[in-house]
């Protein structure tokens, strides 16, 4: 009670001093709030980017299964052990595996493609009468693969739409531009494959004669039981290596398991680590220097009160009283400084953020990460880092600021208080 009384009189009657402290505290906290919002935005966007880039492992038969690739299919060569339903189930049940995309590649009419071609003959790019068929799962988070095996790009639909996961059990189809032009097929056209009617919903850019069907319908129409390749999406980048070895040991040596070589991926990972480190560092630096400034301000202002504390001690006020008064005072100042900080952050935040992040620009938007055709959902706009950032004093920001404020206030009050307490009243009274 006397603490509050004494404190109130001291604070209310030293208006200039109170004002200076509140402004200093507010300024420090305001800058800290801005920097932490900037840091949050960097962390959030980087996380978004990271989450949107799939971590892909490919599984293929160890020996050439039918061929080494759709566009240079080597007929009759290699093993006939493909990725059957059993293998797919093993892959899907492996820990950390999020989704599996089965892909098979085969000429529409295998017998006519191989007729007259003995072992070693090749099938390249297909023809209008015998195009290549890609059966692909549409339920995976991955984009449809264009060419077939690893190294192929993503399908680029130029007319109509792509296949979505809802197409998985339907008989919709995509056709290449070359095939559409040569056969006069368009959106809505039907085509018959061994008695199954497929409907064209989209046309994609490619000069080879290619059809893309949802895997189940394509497999049953063509009598396929084994996939040529599985694109396996693993939940986290960090789990790629362990997933690789556990897939390999589960599947055995008749399959090749590989991390999809992806230069974007590893450089992205490096960049993400660097960005996160920098963002965190900035925040800690702001907090440390903010705390430093607040402590110094309090120390400066309170050292002028050393004599007063000496007097209070001489009058019989205990250390606990003086300590409590100091802490209460610094707490109140910092809490009162909070609205100032919020105002500063709200007013100066956008400008400061622009200064800090403005140079990052559009270059941070990812190109499609190459092979596998991952579905990157980068934020639009010229500077993705500036988009999610907000400086309005939301409840979250206020609570966060309050927590930081209380910590700074305690730190700021503790040092001068402890210093004052160590002096004897006579020493303190000699202070001017």
């Amino acid at each position: 009670m006397p603490i509050i009384l004494h404190f109130r009189r001291n604070v209310l009657r030293n208006r200039t001093r109170a004002l200076v402290i509140v402004v200093m505290v507010g300024l420090t906290l305001g800058v800290f709030l801005v920097l932490s919002q900037v840091g949050n935005s960097i962390v959030a966007y980087t996380g978004e980017v990271e989450a949107s880039v799939p971590n892909i492992i490919t599984v293929q038969p160890a020996n050439n299964f039918i061929g080494g690739g759709y566009f240079s299919l080597t007929i009759g060569a290699g093993s006939t052990t493909g990725l059957d339903a059993n293998a797919s189930a093993i892959v899907a049940a492996t820990p950390n595996v999020v989704s599996v995309q089965r892909v098979f590649t085969q000429p529409l009419d295998l017998s006519s493609a191989t007729s007259g071609a003995t072992s070693g003959g090749s099938f390249t790019c297909g023809s209008a009468s015998n195009p290549g068929v890609l059966g692909e799962d549409t339920t995976s988070q991955l984009k449809l693969v264009l060419g077939g095996l690893s190294g192929a790009g993503a399908v680029d639909v130029v007319e109509g739409r792509s296949l979505a996961s809802s197409d998985e059990n339907s008989t919709t189809a995509l056709v290449s531009q070359a095939y559409a032009t040569a056969t006069g097929k368009g959106i809505g056209s039907n085509m018959d494959v061994n008695g199954t009617e497929f409907t064209v919903v989209g046309i994609f850019s490619q000069s080879c004669y290619t059809l893309i069907f949802p895997y189940p319908a394509a497999a049953s129409a063509l009598g396929i039981t084994q996939a040529s390749i599985l694109y396996v999406v693993v939940n986290q980048y960090q789990n790629l290596a362990t997933s690789l070895s556990s897939l390999q040991s589960r599947l055995g040596s008749s399959f090749n398991v590989q991390i999809l070589a992806n230069a974007d991926r590893s450089s992205l990972q490096g960049a993400i680590s660097a960005i996160l480190l920098a963002a965190n560092f900035g925040e800690y630096a702001a907090l440390a220097s903010g705390a430093g400034i607040v402590v110094v301000v309090f120390a400066m202002i309170n050292s002028r009160r050393t004599k007063e504390f000496g007097l209070l001690k001489a009058l019989g006020f205990g250390n606990a009283h003086i300590l409590a008064e100091m802490l209460l005072e610094s707490l109140v100042f910092t809490v009162v400084g909070l609205p100032v900080a919020l105002a500063i952050s709200y007013i100066a935040g956008p400008g400061l953020a622009q200064t800090i992040l403005g140079g990052v620009g559009a270059s941070t938007q990812l190109a499609s990460p190459g092979s596998g055709g991952a579905n990157v959902s980068a934020r639009g706009g010229s500077n993705p880092f500036l988009q999610g950032i907000h400086f309005a004093p939301t409840l979250e920001v206020v609570l966060f600021g309050l927590a930081v404020t209380l910590i700074l206030g305690l730190l700021g009050g503790l040092y001068p208080a402890v210093r004052a307490l160590r002096l004897r009243p006579t020493e303190a009274l000699r202070h001017e």
């Binding site: 006397p2 009189r9 009657r13 009058l315 205990g318 250390n319």
Partner: protein, 239 residues
């Protein structure tokens, strides 16, 4: 003879600063009885302030005994000394040491705040105390609205706030002109006469010392001589 209030036995105090040691007090044996009005004089640096601070429990001696009201205060811990200062000591500083942001009344009430006195009691008491030092009606003024003499009178009122056993004053008139000097001394004298308050006053001013009952002269940390002031017990009875 009345009861002993302060008694020092071989009280010494040395200050060590760096390699130099200053022996501010050397084996002081001094007895001050309840109700006495004592002046401590001596040249600058003779140890007056040092002695007074130790008697007021603001500082500790380096060796020897200091009995205050029968308690060896040299053996007390910091918080116990705090309590002694709060309850038994009224200290008056040469430079007043009023808190500038408090009114005269609040300055006087400040020591009562640690004493947990109720607010109405505090107000009543501070009003009485200010009146007793001739400052009725000035309670709401801040120190910077009071003259030096008035400030020192507020400080005396503050020293009396918790009903101390003794008032100890270090050069209470050092910063005052002759008129105010006289006023402050007569307040202290009246206190001594009317309430039997023990007063110990440090001064290097011979005239001021003469107005006490007993003069203790220090030189180089030792008691050089003791004498009687003009303020005699006989005079005390007459007044």
């Amino acid at each position: 003879m009345s009861e002993v209030l302060f008694k020092t036995e071989k009280l010494s105090k040395s200050y060590v600063s760096g390699r130099r040691t200053v022996n501010a007090l050397e084996e002081i044996d001094l007895v001050i009885r309840r109700g006495e009005f004592v002046a401590i004089t001596g040249h600058s640096g003779s140890g007056k302030t040092t002695l007074l601070n130790i008697l007021a429990c603001l500082d500790r001696g380096s060796s020897g005994k200091v009995l205050f009201d029968g308690v060896d205060v040299q053996k007390l811990g910091a918080s116990e000394l705090n309590r002694v200062r709060r309850d038994k000591v009224g200290f008056v500083f040469q430079s007043f040491n009023l808190l500038p942001y408090l009114s005269a009344k609040e300055n006087v009430e400040l020591p009562m705040e640690v004493g947990r006195l109720r607010k109405e009691k505090r107000t009543e008491r501070s009003t009485d105390l200010l009146a007793s030092v001739g400052l009725e009606g000035r309670g709401d003024h801040r120190p910077n609205q009071l003259s030096a003499g008035e400030q020192q009178r507020v400080a005396i009122a503050r020293a009396l706030a918790n009903g101390p056993s003794a008032v100890l004053a270090d050069e209470p008139t050092g910063n005052l002109d002759p008129d105010n000097k006289a006023a402050v001394i007569s307040i202290l004298r009246r206190l001594n006469i009317e309430q039997g308050m023990t007063v110990i006053m440090v001064t290097h001013d011979g005239d001021v010392a003469e107005r006490s009952e007993r003069i203790v002269r220090l030189a180089k940390g030792k008691i050089r001589s003791e004498g009687r002031g003009k303020f005699l017990r006989t005079e005390r009875k007459e007044t």
